[in-house]
């Protein structure tokens, strides 16, 4: 089966799950349903098949261009959603995760980012480099999910402040739970990124990328430290989680634009 077809099927699943939930929320009768979970699980299964097929074809971790990076990032976000969403009973996290996964994959499918095999970074077929790239992308997945939880926090917080409750208010988790989830997701991402950077140092990846990675590491480390010292309010942490991921995503794109053949 053509791997792009697998990707299209996965993207469609996320779109379907998101559309269904938006419709249910619109009618005010949203209940965490099997349909929503099934759509996310279906999307994840197709994503996984795509990555396995690509990995076999490349004989390496499929992180050789921005196209694959985006799919791997989307996969890690959904993977973390299944872990975190279940653990913290943040069922609505899926509603916010689905559009993000859909956006990444639709973008990857529409924009010609998938370079021909000959142009790809073959040097990735080294265990340390694969570890560095894969662990780093999963870390960015955790940061993405922290950003998603940050958006949920800000929506809920605004409703509590203004006393105007929309239908979403009753479905969103308490802000205390969201604050804990944001903190733990950033901590998870930070630990993974530390491992990713250390494995990157071991194989001496390009300095530009190392500096970028260290920059991201410092931003999230700063957020964690400020939160620990209680120098910032939970609302500020949520805002920082959203801003930090937006910056990370934008710079990732910029970095790849400068060096399209490279991996992370």
């Amino acid at each position: 089966m053509d791997d792009r077809l697998l990707l299209a099927a996965s993207t469609f699943c996320f779109l379907l799950g998101f559309a269904y939930t938006m419709f249910a929320l619109g009618t005010g009768r949203y209940q965490p349903s099997r349909f929503n979970f099934a759509a996310m699980a279906g999307g994840f299964a197709f994503q996984s098949c795509f990555l396995v097929q690509r990995g076999h074809a490349l004989n390496a971790c499929p992180l050789t261009n921005l196209f694959e990076v985006l799919i791997f990032l989307s996969w890690s976000i959904v993977l973390l959603y299944f872990v975190v969403g279940t653990t913290y009973r943040l069922s609505l996290l899926g509603v916010f995760t689905a559009p993000l996964a859909f956006m990444f994959q639709a973008f990857a499918l529409i924009v010609p980012l998938d370079s021909p095999p000959g142009l790809r970074a073959r040097h990735l077929a080294q265990p340390w480099l694969e570890t560095h790239a894969a662990v780093s992308i999963i870390a960015y997945g955790a940061f993405a999910l922290a950003g998603v939880a940050g958006v949920m926090y800000l929506i809920q917080e605004r409703q509590l402040k203004t006393h105007h409750f929309r239908r979403l208010f009753f479905q969103l988790p308490p802000i205390a739970d969201l604050a804990v989830a944001i903190n733990r997701l950033i901590l998870t991402g930070f630990i993974l990124l530390t491992v990713g950077l250390l494995s990157g140092f071991a194989v001496r990846v390009e300095w530009g990328k190392v500096i970028w990675g260290v920059g991201v590491w410092l931003i999230y480390g700063g957020i964690l430290q400020a939160d620990k010292w209680r120098r910032v309010t939970p609302r500020r942490v949520a805002q920082l989680a959203v801003a930090a991921f937006s910056i990370t995503l934008a710079t990732l794109w910029g970095l790849n634009f400068i060096n399209p053949a490279g991996s992370l």
């Binding site: 009768r29 509590l160 009753f170 802000i175 205390a176 309010t233």
Partner: protein
């Protein structure tokens, strides 16, 4: 065989009348059995709550059956002809519809409240255990529990809090999650603040501090709520330890200002605080709501939320009635066929079903 009911409720009788006809819990089983033994009645069930007393039964002739229930009430509670105006009689689809509406909270004093479902389940369990119900009432009540569940999950009839106390509790849960880790302070011991504090405690909040101009009054209330009395001048010293502040003093000026609270918030490491201002004139400067981590609600805001929830519930009435009507038709069809469809359970199984629902 037809099902029917005779009863009175908060809509037809005042509390004194309802009291006269009410059944104590220990009487329900005995009286249900007594009703069933009457030759005119095949099955019987008594529902007695503070808002309604209803006697359900099944018999071939509903007119005779209803008269028999009335005779039972004459003997037991001295029902007089003048009392008849308080009672309603329903039979056939009317009785089925009435039960489905009752169990779904559509006939409750607070539209959509869910306590009634538990009360009906209990009444059914008692009647079934005493052998007063059989296939028709078993089927009717099991269907009623399913209807209540469907109405609750497929409509917004139970959506949102509808009293000041429940609004406060719901908001606290939206801020803090579990209330078992929350501590509250009552500033000025008024009746509404007491009720709100009790509502919070019923959901797990603990360690209530009470501060009042009269220390004695604070001490009494603190003892009642197993809390701690604090001198009125020292209330802000406890601010680090609390998550919820309920204020209802009779002070003519603002007691909680952004300056005081801003300083206290920095000291408490920016942990969120839920401030409920129930005083008139208000105790809390509205500007404190602009501080990060402070969620301020005054009496108007709480009442407004309760009213909006009630309005949402009223909008759902038509949808609930449509759902109920479908089940009434199905059940009436089953009755018209003489109960030909297979029964869900025998008595003992039916009790287990009711308890598990």
């Amino acid at each position: 065989m037809e099902v029917f009911c005779l009863g009175l409720s908060h809509q037809t009788a005042d509390v004194a009348t309802r009291e006269r006809f009410a059944f104590a819990e220990h009487e329900i089983g005995v009286c249900s059995g007594e009703l069933r033994r009457r030759p005119e009645l095949g099955e019987a069930l008594i529902l007695s709550t503070c808002n309604r007393v209803e006697l359900y039964a099944a018999a071939p002739d509903p007119a005779v059956g209803l008269d028999s229930i009335e005779a039972f009430l004459v003997a037991r509670a001295a029902l007089e002809p003048a009392d008849r105006k308080f009672f309603y009689r329903r039979h056939g689809p009317g009785a089925v519809r009435h039960l489905f509406r009752v169990v779904s909270g559509l006939e409750s004093m607070v539209l959509g409240e869910t306590e009634i479902l538990g009360q009906v389940k209990k009444a059914y369990s008692i009647a079934a255990e005493s052998g007063a119900t059989a296939r028709h009432l078993n089927k009717l009540f099991q269907r009623a529990f399913n209807v209540a569940k469907e109405v609750r999950t497929r409509t917004n009839i139970t959506r949102g809090p509808v009293s000041v106390g429940s609004v406060a509790v719901d908001l606290a849960e939206k801020i803090f999650g579990r209330l078992s880790t929350c501590r509250a302070m009552i500033l000025g011991a008024g009746e509404t603040s007491e009720l709100t504090a009790r509502a919070l405690m019923s959901r797990g909040a603990h360690g209530i501090f009470v501060s009042n101009r009269s220390y004695e009054r604070a001490r009494v209330l603190a003892e009642e709520s197993r809390g701690e009395a604090v001198g009125f001048e020292q209330w802000h010293e406890c601010f680090d330890d609390i998550d919820i502040l309920i204020s209802s003093t009779s002070a003519p000026h603002m007691i909680v200002t952004p300056e005081k609270l801003g300083h206290a918030m920095r000291k408490r490491g920016n942990r969120p605080v839920f401030v409920i201002d129930l005083a008139l004139p208000r105790d809390v400067d509205p500007a404190v709501n602009d501080l990060d981590g402070v969620y301020l609600y005054d009496l108007d805001a709480l009442r407004d939320i309760a009213a909006r929830s009630m309005s949402v519930r009223r909008q759902e009435l038509a949808e609930c009635e449509r759902l109920i009507e479908r089940h009434v038709d199905e059940f009436a069809g089953w009755l018209a066929n003489g109960g030909a469809a297979p029964m869900l359970a025998q008595n003992s199984g039916a009790v287990r079903t009711a308890q598990a629902l």
